[in-house]
C-alpha cells in the first residue's frame, strides 16, 4: 500500500522488524487500519455520551444494536444487502479520490445506472436470461460511467470544479428518473409512478436460502479486489495516484493528466451505475422515485473511512451498513430516535476527517 504514513514512533525501533515480508505486510496493514479504528472508537464513545445525556443507557443500546444486527443469518444477510451498494460505490470513489477528484455525484450516477438498467430490463424480453442479466448490468455500468465522465470532461476542458458539476448532475439524474417513471418507463395502468417489474428470470440469483441476499455482495467484494489491484499494482492506477498527489510530477513523468482524471471519475461512475443496476435487479426489481436513500452520499464516508483503500471500503461499507440496520433496531427495540443514529454516523465521519487532518499535520517533512 502506498498510503503509509511517516513512521513517527521510536517504539517501532525493533531491529527484527520487517524481517519476513509477511510480517512486514501485516504490520503495515495493522498500522494503516489503526487510525480509522481509533476514529470509529472515538465517535462511538462520543455517541455513547450523547445517548447517556439524552437519557439512554449506551451500553444497552449498543448491545441491542449489535446483537440485533448479528442475531441470525437473516439479519446479517439484510445488513450485507445494505452494504452491497455502499461497498460498490465506495470502492469506485476510492479510485476517484485517489486522483484527487472529488466526485460528489455518485448519487446521480447511481440513478443514471438504475435508469439505463431498467430500460434494458423491461425491454429485450427475448434474450436468454443470463445474457439479459449481463446486458442490464453492463447498461447500468456504462450509464454511470458516462454520467460521471461528463463532469470529468468539463473539468479537463474548462477547469470546471467537479464538486459543483457532479452535484448539479445529481439533480438532473434524479429528476430524470422522476420523469421516466411517470412517463416513458411507467408501468401500464399502475397507480404509482414506477416502472414495470422485471421478469423473475432476470432477478439476480440469491446466495443464502430464505434471505434476500443476492450475488451483488460477491460482485462488490470481487470488484474491490480488482480496484485494489488496479490502483496499487497496475500502471494506469499508478498514473491515477501520481496525478492525485502531484500533477506537476505527473506531467514530468509523461502521464496524461486529463486522461487519468477522466478515467478515474469514469471508473467511480461505472461502479455507482453498476450499484444502481444491481439494486434494481437484486432488490427492488423495478424503478421508482427516491430509489436510493442516499447511498451515493453515504459511500463518500465509506471511502473516507477506508482511507481510499478499496479493500478497506469492504470493511467500512459493512460498518456503515451495520449502523444503518442498527438504527432501525434501536428505533424499534429501544425507542431511540433514528436521528440520534444519524448524529452518531455524522460523528464517525467527523472524527475520520479529523484524524486525517492530524495525520496530515504529522506528515510534514522534517526538514
Amino acid at each position: 500500500m502506498a498510503d503509509i504514513d511517516i513512521p513517527p514512533s521510536r517504539k517501532a525501533a525493533s531491529p527484527f522488524s520487517s524481517n519476513t515480508p509477511l510480517l512486514a505486510w501485516s504490520r503495515r496493514l495493522l498500522k494503516s487500519m489503526l487510525p480509522p479504528l481509533v476514529a470509529v472508537l472515538v465517535a462511538l464513545f462520543a455517541g455513547a455520551v450523547l445517548l447517556a445525556v439524552t437519557g439512554f443507557n449506551p451500553l444497552d443500546i449498543f448491545t441491542v444494536m449489535v446483537s440485533g444486527v448479528f442475531q441470525n443469518v437473516r439479519s446479517i444477510a439484510e445488513m450485507l444487502l445494505k452494504a452491497t451498494p455502499l461497498i460498490l460505490i465506495g470502492v469506485g470513489l476510492c479510485v476517484s479520490f485517489r486522483c484527487s477528484i472529488w466526485n460528489i455525484g455518485a448519487e446521480g450516477q447511481f440513478y443514471a445506472g438504475a435508469c439505463a438498467a431498467t430500460f434494458c430490463g423491461v425491454n429485450f424480453a427475448g434474450l436468454p436470461p443470463a445474457l439479459h442479466i449481463c446486458l442490464v448490468l453492463v447498461a447500468g455500468t456504462a450509464a454511470g460511467a458516462l454520467w460521471a465522465a461528463i463532469a470529468g470532461v468539463l473539468k479537463v476542458a474548462f477547469n470546471a470544479s467537479e464538486i459543483v458539476t457532479t452535484i448539479m448532475l445529481n439533480y438532473i439524474a434524479i429528476f430524470m428518473t422522476s420523469y421516466l417513471v411517470t412517463g416513458p418507463l411507467m408501468e401500464q395502468g399502475a397507480a404509482y409512478p414506477q416502472s414495470a417489474k422485471f421478469a423473475h428470470a432476470i432477478w439476480l440469483p440469491r446466495i443464502i436460502p430464505s434471505t434476500r441476499l443476492h450475488i451483488g455482495i460477491l460482485i462488490a467484494v470481487a470488484l474491490a479486489v480488482v480496484a485494489y489491484v488496479f490502483l496499487f499494482r497496475s500502471s494506469a492506477g499508478y498514473a491515477v495516484r501520481i496525478v492525485g498527489i502531484n500533477s506537476h510530477a505527473a506531467r514530468y513523468a509523461g502521464i496524461s493528466v486529463s486522461r487519468s482524471i477522466v478515467l478515474a471519475i469514469a471508473i467511480s461512475g461505472a461502479l455507482a451505475g453498476l450499484a444502481g443496476a444491481v439494486q434494481i435487479e437484486g432488490v427492488t426489481y423495478r424503478l421508482y422515485q427516491d430509489i436510493s436513500p442516499g447511498y451515493g452520499f453515504e459511500a463518500i464516508a465509506v471511502a473516507l473511512l477506508a482511507n481510499n483503500n478499496p479493500i478497506g471500503a469492504i470493511l467500512s461499507g459493512i460498518l456503515f451498513a451495520t449502523l444503518d440496520s442498527g438504527s432501525e433496531l434501536m428505533q424499534i427495540n429501544a425507542q431511540v430516535p433514528q436521528v440520534l443514529v444519524f448524529v452518531i454516523q455524522g460523528m464517525v465521519i467527523l472524527s475520520v476527517v479529523g484524524f486525517a487532518a492530524l495525520k496530515f499535520q504529522s506528515a510534514r517533512p522534517s526538514e
Binding site: 521510536r10 489491484v229 499508478y238 510530477a249 502521464i255 526538514e367
Partner: protein
C-alpha cells in the same frame, strides 16, 4: 564578539525506526555568533535543528537555552524563547499573501484579520530595516525562490526571533543572492542576533561563520574556530578523506551532433517572453553548460525542451528528429532524460516510497510494467541497485521519499535519470543540496555518461559545478545566449560580466575571443 553561551544541545538522540538520525549530538552556541554546521547528506543536521526548534521530539537528551531547559517538541515554546528556523524546503502557503502567511496560526482569525494593516506595516518596517525587499501583499506563489527565502527569513524576524537557524539557505540561491544573504547575516549579528547556518559550500562557511562544527552519523565530531581551519581540513572531517575538486577527465572528442536547438523561444507562466531565440548544439561525448543568474530563462528553456511548456518558435532536434510539439511522454520515450530544477515540485512524489519514485517515467514500460501491471520485483531490484550504487541513505526502499534527507532525495533523482541511459541528458541543477563527497561522486557519474558517448546539457547557477565538468559554457542573459566560454577558472571575471549582461570588452591579451551569437 564571542559572547557567553546562549544555547546548549546536550547528548540528543533520535531514531526513526532502525535509522539513527542523532546519536548523542551536543553543540554549544554563543551569543552573537554565526555558527556553521557541516556534514554529509543524512548526517543528521536537519533533524537536530528540527529538534531544537520543537518540530521533532528527541528520544533522549536536552536543550538548554539561557540556562532554562526547553520543553521538548513544542515549536511555540521555541518561538517564545526566541528560536526560529528557515527550513531546507520552504513552508509557505503558496496561495496566500506574504502577510497572511505571517499571521497563519497566530490566534483567532477575527483578531488577526482586524490587525492586517498593522501586520503589513510591521513587515514593511522590518523589510526596510534589513533591506529585504519584501512586499506584504504579494502572493507567495508568484515569488521566485530567492524572494521566498527572504520572506521566510523576515517571517522569523517578524516573530521576534533572536536565534535564527538557516538550513541550507544558499542551495537555491545565485551567487549574487548568496552574497546578499551572507551580508544580511552579518547585519543580523551586528544587530545582536545569533545565527546557526547549515551549508554544503565550504567557501561560504569560511567567509561568514565564527565557529564551525562537523556532524557525522548523528554526532558532532569536530568543532573549531573558523579562523583556525581551512576548507581542506573541513572536507576531510566531513567525508573522512581528501576530496578532489578537480575531476580527471578525458580530453574532449568531437562527436556528431545529438541535440540541436535553433531559434527557440517560449513564454513564462505569465505569458511573457522568457526565452528569446536560443540556438546551440550538444554533441556526443560533450557536456555543455548554461550559466546565468537564475530567472534569465533557464527554467523555461528546460521546460520547453522537455515538452512541459510549449515553444512559441524555433526547433529542437534530437538525433535529427523534431521534438517541438511532442508530448512529454513522447519526448521521454525518445532517449531524453531530465533532472528537474525543483525536486519537490516536479522531480519526486513526496509521500510515495522510493520504489514508486524511481519508475516515474517508466511506470508503463518494460521492465517495470508487463501487460498493464507493475512488476514489483523488477521495481524493487532496480531501486535497490540505484540506492546502493549512489549510496542513498535510506532505511528501506519502501519508505516514503520524504523521510530521506534533502541531499539523498537529490541523489536518487540523479540516479534515476542517469540509469535511463539516454542519448541526451538535460540537467537543471545537478548537485543542489548534495554534500561535497557525494558531489564528487555524482559529477564523476555524469562524466562517465559523457565518456560513454552521451550528450549532456547542464544548466546551473553554480559556476564551480560548471567549471568542474563542462566542455564549454554558454552564458544566458534575459533569454538569450550572449556568449560562450571555455571552462577556465582564470576567466571567471569575464563570465561574471557576461552573466550580468555586460560585454567583457577589456579582455586580457592572448585569451581566445569570446564568441557571441
Amino acid at each position: 564578539m564571542a559572547g557567553q553561551t546562549l544555547l546548549r544541545i546536550e547528548n540528543v538522540h533520535k531514531r526513526f525506526g532502525a535509522v539513527i538520525a542523532s546519536a548523542g549530538a551536543s553543540i554549544e552556541v554563543r551569543e552573537g555568533e554565526i555558527y556553521a554546521l557541516l556534514g554529509e547528506n543524512g548526517a543528521g543536521k536537519s533533524v537536530l535543528m528540527s529538534i531544537l526548534c520543537g518540530v521533532l521530539t528527541a528520544d533522549e537528551g536536552r536543550i538548554v537555552c539561557r540556562g532554562v531547559e526547553l520543553q521538548p517538541g513544542s515549536p511555540e515554546e521555541a518561538v517564545r524563547r526566541g528560536i526560529g528556523m528557515v527550513h531546507q524546503h520552504f513552508m509557505l502557503v503558496p496561495n496566500l499573501t506574504v502577510a497572511e502567511n505571517y499571521v497563519l496560526g497566530q490566534g483567532s482569525p477575527l483578531r488577526v484579520l482586524s490587525h492586517m494593516k498593522a501586520v503589513s506595516a510591521r513587515i514593511r518596517e522590518l523589510s526596510d530595516k534589513y533591506g529585504l525587499d519584501v512586499r506584504p501583499d504579494a502572493l507567495v506563489r508568484n515569488l521566485s525562490v530567492g524572494e521566498q527565502q527572504r520572506v521566510e527569513i523576515l517571517k522569523v524576524l517578524y516573530h521576534g526571533i533572536d536565534l535564527l537557524i538557516l538550513d541550507e539557505p544558499t542551495a537555491v540561491l545565485t551567487p549574487q543572492e548568496t552574497d546578499r544573504l551572507l551580508e544580511l547575516l552579518r547585519d543580523l549579528v551586528a544587530d545582536g542576533k545569533t545565527v546557526i547556518f547549515i551549508s554544503h559550500k565550504l567557501d561560504e562557511v569560511m567567509r561568514v561563520s565564527d565557529r564551525v562544527s562537523v556532524m557525522r552519523d548523528g554526532k558532532v565530531v569536530f568543532t573549531t574556530d573558523t579562523s583556525a581551519t581551512n576548507p581542506r581540513e573541513l572536507a576531510r572531517m566531513m567525508v573522512g578523506r581528501d576530496v578532489l575538486m578537480e575531476l580527471p577527465r578525458e580530453a574532449a572528442r568531437q562527436g556528431e551532433i545529438v541535440l540541436s536547438v535553433r531559434d527557440l523561444a517560449c513564454n513564462n507562466e505569465l505569458g511573457l517572453p522568457a526565452v528569446r531565440g536560443v540556438s546551440f548544439d550538444v554533441r556526443r561525448n560533450e557536456i555543455v553548460g548554461i550559466a546565468g543568474v537564475s530567472g534569465n530563462g533557464q527554467s523555461e528553456l528546460a521546460l520547453a525542451m522537455s515538452g512541459l511548456a510549449p515553444a512559441t518558435a524555433g526547433s529542437i532536434r534530437l538525433n535529427g528528429e523534431e521534438l517541438c510539439g511532442l508530448s512529454p511522454a513522447a519526448i521521454n520515450r525518445r532517449s531524453f532524460a531530465h533532472v528537474p530544477e525543483d525536486r519537490h515540485k516536479m522531480g519526486i512524489v513526496l509521500p510515495l516510497p522510493l520504489t514508486e519514485n524511481v519508475i516515474l517515467q517508466r511506470y508503463n514500460r518494460p521492465p517495470f510494467s508487463a501487460r498493464g501491471l507493475l512488476r514489483s520485483r523488477a521495481v524493487e531490484d532496480h531501486t535497490r541497485d540505484l540506492v546502493q550504487r549512489f549510496k542513498v541513505k535510506a532505511r528501506d526502499i519502501d519508505v516514503p521519499i520524504q523521510t530521506l534527507s534533502g541531499g539523498n532525495q537529490q541523489k536518487l533523482v540523479v540516479a534515476r535519470e542517469l540509469a535511463r541511459h539516454p542519448d541526451f541528458l538535460l540537467i537543471n541543477q545537478l548537485t543542489r543540496g548534495i554534500d561535497i563527497g557525494a558531489m564528487e561522486f555524482v559529477m564523476q557519474e555524469v562524466l562517465k555518461q559523457r565518456e560513454a558517448g552521451k550528450a549532456i546539457l547542464l544548466i546551473s547557477t553554480e559556476l564551480e559545478e560548471l567549471f568542474a565538468i563542462c566542455d564549454r559554457i554558454l552564458v544566458i542573459y534575459e533569454g538569450r545566449i550572449i556568449g560562450e566560454m571555455p571552462p577556465d577558472r582564470s576567466r571567471l571575471d569575464e563570465i561574471g560580466l557576461l552573466m550580468a549582461g555586460k560585454e567583457p570588452s577589456a579582455r586580457s591579451a592572448g585569451s581566445e575571443p569570446v564568441r557571441v551569437h
